[in-house]
């Protein structure tokens, strides 16, 4: 395979794939490493090892090599201006990429090639990133296990009998397995954080409005945000700095300066206050997760943080609230998939039958379930009882955080009550799958920034993550606390053993 390609001074393929975002960009900027050879090393790795993981739906070898070669042709000073020079990055397949398939892992968009790039994709290209391809996901980002992909489920690189989490499971798995140095996902109710925890990588969901969703295929517009995965928080912070900022093409994008997130890394944590929700460390949370979190709290205490008990009394209503609001918005957003302007069309006897058959054949079971739930919740006679009631509950959930942040700088809970579950374990019980989103949903409903931080392993060797939530637009606090913990604990940046080669 690839060793012949790796001619760059001092770096073997193994070294290159082990490097993080900041290191890779630095070496490409200085000319120590060629972006083209780096791209080849990652593409070879995907070609040989992704077969039994299934993280990628589409690999853009040609485009990745061309982009990398163009970075190598720049002058050293031009390269130094590129924060992601030659960094190989994977994109969730709900981010539009000009000239590259974008399917949302749905049959209704199979073969769809967008005529434009998402805002974040434009920004990554402009920052010198090498875009490797599109990653697998739960169809239309609806799911917590990646088993709702219309194509194939992703396997967790730490144990290929387990789910990688969802919906951004392909991006999380690709980052964990070092098929990419980093990846972008989207997070509506936990779809970046929960797969981050299951795959043992750093994952950040920014504040609602921080990152433009232009070109992100919409699921639930009052909740969707785009966020980065990387093997360390510092690397994820580099990506966040690139993708954050105002874009007039998303009306919810805020006009607000983008701070230097990376500058938070390495700062002391002395005097910072961590809010601990005691109920979130009790019943219903797997013992290994409880123990890992208690140990993480000890680390924070040793770093000079103060632990204070806080309460989120309405968080218990988050699942009910979210599973009314998100399906309601999804039923509206997904009305555009009608077989007329793009995607699948299945002809019927008349227009109504064409719509019905197109959507019945194009959408999978979970997407249909959410469209049905949302249509019901919005229908005459139920709108006030379900949808407006949920919006009011949402206010109460958000107010809980306002109260908590009077006493602390960040709220710490598990990201997920369990480690990665077995593939197939929950597919027959949608409600059980929804209930496991209990910790990631409240900050989503409140629009707050949240991060999942790797904090240990279960006795079976499966990664555990904790979730930090900070005040709106305090991604700096998130990065500072997550990075400080990572430096002290040493859990970030670990990689699973390579999956078996699929072909030689």
């Amino acid at each position: 395979m690839s060793h012949a390609h790796i001619s760059t001074a001092g770096a073997s393929a193994a070294d290159v794939i082990g490097l993080g975002v900041v290191e890779l960009a630095g070496k490409v900027q200085s000319g120590e490493l060629s972006a083209l050879e780096t791209a080849r090393a990652f593409l070879d790795r995907i070609a040989h090892l992704d077969g039994d993981v299934g993280a990628f739906l589409h690999v853009d070898g040609e485009g990745a090599l061309a982009q990398a070669a163009s970075v190598d042709r720049l002058s050293p000073s031009e390269r130094r201006a590129l924060p992601l020079a030659g960094v190989p990055i994977a994109l969730k397949d709900n981010l539009c990429t000009r000239g590259l398939p974008t399917t949302c892992a749905s049959k209704i968009l199979a073969g769809y090639v967008p005529p434009y790039d998402a805002h974040v994709v434009e920004l990554l290209r402009a920052a010198g990133a090498t875009l490797l391809g599109k990653t697998n996901m739960d169809e239309f980002a609806m799911g917590s296990s990646n088993e709702n992909s219309a194509f194939w489920p992703v396997k967790n690189p730490w144990d290929r009998t387990r789910a990688p989490g969802g919906s951004s499971g392909g991006s999380a798995a690709a980052t964990a397995a070092a098929f990419a140095a980093a990846a972008l996902g989207s997070d509506t109710g936990g779809s970046v954080r929960q797969p981050g925890a299951f795959c043992g990588v750093a994952a950040i969901k920014p504040t609602y409005g921080r990152v433009s969703r232009y070109g992100l295929i919409a699921f639930a517009s009052s909740l969707d945000q785009i966020g980065p995965f990387a093997r360390t928080t510092r690397d994820a912070a580099r990506l966040l700095g690139v993708i954050a900022g105002h874009d007039a093409r998303d009306a919810t994008s805020v006009v607000r300066a983008v701070p230097d997130y990376e500058a938070e890394c390495g700062k002391p944590l002395t005097g910072m206050r961590i809010g601990v929700v005691r109920e979130a460390l009790g019943e219903g949370v797997e013992p290994a997760v409880q123990q890992a979190l208690l140990a993480a709290l000890d680390v924070y205490r040793a770093l000079g943080c103060t632990l204070v008990d806080v309460e989120l009394p309405h968080a218990q209503h988050a699942v009910a609230t979210y599973y009314l609001i998100a399906p309601a918005e999804c039923s509206s957003n997904l009305a555009r998939f009608d077989g007329m302007r793009f995607g699948l069309r299945v002809n019927g006897a008349d227009l109504a039958e064409t719509y019905g058959r197109t959507r019945a054949e194009g959408f999978g079971p979970e997407v249909k379930r959410r469209i049905m739930l949302g249509t019901y919740a919005l229908s005459a006679g139920y709108y006030d009882a379900f949808y407006v009631k949920a919006q009011k509950a949402r206010t109460l959930i958000a107010r809980d955080y306002d109260t908590a942040f009077e006493r602390c700088d960040a709220v710490l809970t598990p990201t997920s009550p369990t480690v990665a579950f077995a593939l197939g374990e929950k597919t027959s019980d949608p409600l059980a799958m929804y209930l496991a989103d209990i910790f990631t949903l409240p900050p989503s409903l409140a629009g707050l920034p949240a991060s999942s931080v790797p904090c240990g392993f279960s006795p079976d060797g499966l990664p555990i993550g904790f979730q930090l939530v900070t005040r709106a637009f305090d991604e700096q606090g998130l990065v500072r606390l997550a990075d400080g913990y990572e430096r002290a604990s040493g859990f970030a940046g670990r990689r699973p053993a390579d999956p078996p080669k699929v072909k030689g």
Binding site: S222, H317, Y323, M340, R345, D350
Partner: protein, 113 residues
Amino acid sequence: MSIVSSDSKPSRADPTQITLDQVRHVAKLARLALSETELETMREQLSRILGHVASLGALDVASVPPTSHAVPMQAPLRADVVRDSLPRSELLAAAPSTEAGAFAVPKVLDGES
């Protein structure tokens, strides 16, 4: 059941126990041609999910304003200037059927139910 107002349209006491006829009606509203098997599975699953959602009934929200967007923001205005759109040919390239530089769609005037 406290979660639903008394003027709810269908004549049922419990909005969390959805009937097969209602599922059929919602599927029609959602433009989903579901099979009889799918309708029955959907009835069962939606009833379970709605049963959980009914826990919101315990919340007193009479004086609570609804939140539609978590981060307060005003609808932004943009300058009223002409901008280029994407080329027509690129947009039509993704369509299942085109004719004379336009999207070709099934007849709508006497076929729509």
